[in-house]
Amino acid sequence: MNKRFLSIFIAAVLIMCVLAPLAAQDEQDKQGKPKEPPPQYTLGDQTLSINAGLFVPLFFLTYQFAAASTHLTVGGAGSLNWMAYVNSWLRVGIEVGGMFAFSPNGNTLLSLPITAKASYILSSYPFEIPFSLGVGMNVVKYIDKSMIDLILKPGVSGLWAYNASWSFGLNATYWWSMQFSKTADQGRIGNFLELSLCALYHY
């Protein structure tokens, strides 16, 4: 029941993210407004973004670089992100996210990554391609176990600027979550992929 509800919820969020800018564009065309000039962001400009999408478990890696199955289902992931422009092509900030996925016996894996993030931005108005790297901690909970991992999140986004304030697009983010164990051969690196839709607000 929970799985079905979460799946429907994620699907609804994704559909809304896709349809919202299209509907807004239709409205703009109908009103015949003139196109805005390309925005120029500078030091002090900030962004807030919300991201929601799929969490794809890839594989676990031992510290001897042997790969193994995660046995996890495809799950859901989402995040909130605040960033500030250092200059027109670099912004830095912080991201708080979350994910869930299910094990073969129906147990839920939960993660809460909190990362410092930097994005290098390639722009060709109205499109923007930020290349990002997040570094931080990942609070992981599974049944009665909780751990804090070191996480690296490299990623790339494709954004379309609807106007000077709003951009919409797609993120592809790799999760590299390093988990250590006091038993030497039981440490694992989690390799996951987040595919999410993004709504980004400039202010």
């Binding site: 676990f60 193994a68 199955s69 995660t70 046995h71 996890l72 094990s103 073969p104 016996n105 147990n107 894996l109 410092a116 570094v135 931080g136 901690m137 992981v140 909970k141 599974y142 049944i143 009665d144 176990k145 909780s146 751990m147 804090i148 991992d149 070191l150 979550s177 390093m178 988990q179 250590f180 164990s181 006091k182 038993t183 039981q186 440490g187 694992r188 690196i189 989690g190």
Partner: protein, 363 residues
């Protein structure tokens, strides 16, 4: 510089949070799906009994599982016919009053008590017409059925109607029903056991442990509990000499000398500061390690080879049994059943010497 310090701190935190029994990803990597057979999982299991070549389980109705060909296969289309339509089985055992094993079950309906019924073996199909009409049990609800004294006696924990209810024990030796404890207890009897010299019955009801000859059970003074309000939940004897008493405050009291002296585990068993309530004990005769079922924390292995005895929780946290409430076990050679509030679990690889298992199946 500050970024480097932050990363070093993160790495240190990650190391410090490492689980000694293996990390979460390691646990996931090793997790295998539990086999789930055809019995419904959401139903409390009130007993499982064996009449060769089949098992019978009280899961709402009483269902039959065949032993051959292995593995156990449950006929979930046709239950053993209950005494009245819609009756639910609250207790189930196999007992031999001569000349062979029969099924005994206590039944209730939504409108009230139905009573104690027998389904004649060796291959019972119905409880209809099998009501036990002895005056000691006929109008009483059955809270517990237990076979004692090497299979020679059946004990029935009864609930008598009234306001308030009263509780007692009835003994059946295959021929005659007699009073083991009169209907005067204010709490239900949740466990009963027998030790052989000189023939002593043990029973727990609420906060009290009773012992004595049939019809003359008195509060046992030699057991010192951790607190006066401690509820005793079960009593078990594996060989007619050793005794185990479980409590709701995280203790298992162990006696190797028929109740003369008792040794509990060193301190109340807790999980994340929550005291574990234990419900039942089972195990092979004279084994140093015994199974202890708990309310919501699966089962523990009690090691009596050390003093005081130690308890170790079943370690596989990835299956539902880890957080199950286990009210009864049935051990049949290397086959072990666990009756839980949410279905029946079975393993085909139980080793009574160390209580080890290889894998659990949800029936």
């Amino acid at each position: 510089m500050k970024a480097r310090i932050a990363i070093v701190l993160l790495v240190m935190i990650s190391f410090l949070s490492g689980c000694p029994e293996g990390g979460i990803y390691y646990t996931l990597e090793k997790e295998t799906p539990t086999t789930d057979n055809t019995l419904k999982n959401g139903i409390p299991i009130h007993g499982v009994a064996k009449l060769v070549p089949a098992y019978y389980v009280a899961a709402g109705s009483v269902w039959k599982g065949t032993l051959t060909p292995a593995p156990v296969a449950w006929d979930t289309s046709t239950p053993i016919t209950p005494p009245v339509d819609g009756a639910l089985c609250t207790a189930l055992v196999a007992f031999d009053p001569g000349p062979g094993l029969d099924l005994y079950g206590g039944f209730i309906t939504q409108s009230g008590n139905v009573g104690l019924y027998k389904a004649a073996g060796p291959s019972p199909t119905t409880f209809v017409g099998g009501q036990i009409t002895d005056p000691l049990v006929v109008d009483k609800q059955v809270a517990l059925l237990e076979v004692l004294n090497g299979g020679a006696e059946l004990v029935i924990s009864t609930v008598s109607p009234g306001d308030p209810f009263s509780y007692g024990l009835v003994l059946f030796d295959g021929t005659t029903y007699s009073t083991l404890f009169p209907d005067t207890a204010t709490k239900p009897f949740t466990g009963v056991a027998f030790t052989s010299t000189p023939g002593t019955y043990w029973a727990v009801s609420g906060t009290s442990l009773y012992s004595g000859a049939a019809g003359a059970l008195v509060v046992e003074p030699r057991l010192t509990k951790s607190a006066t309000e401690e509820v005793l939940t079960s009593v078990f004897s594996d060989n007619g000499t050793r005794l185990f008493v479980t409590s709701n405050l995280g203790y298992v009291y162990y006696s190797a000398d028929e109740g003369a002296t008792w040794t509990p585990n060193a301190s109340a068993m807790k999980v994340s500061d929550t005291v574990v309530s234990f419900l039942t004990v089972a195990g092979g005769p004279n084994q140093s390690k015994m199974l202890v079922g708990s309310d919501g924390y699966g089962y523990y292995v009690l090691d009596t080879a050390v003093t005081p005895p130690t308890l170790a929780r079943f370690a596989d946290s990835t299956i539902g049994l880890y957080t199950a409430s286990i009210s009864r076990f049935l051990i049949d050679e290397n086959r072990l059943f666990a009756c839980t509030l949410k279905g029946l679990w079975r393993t085909e690889s139980f080793d009574a010497t160390d209580c080890s298992v290889e894998s659990w199946i949800q029936e």
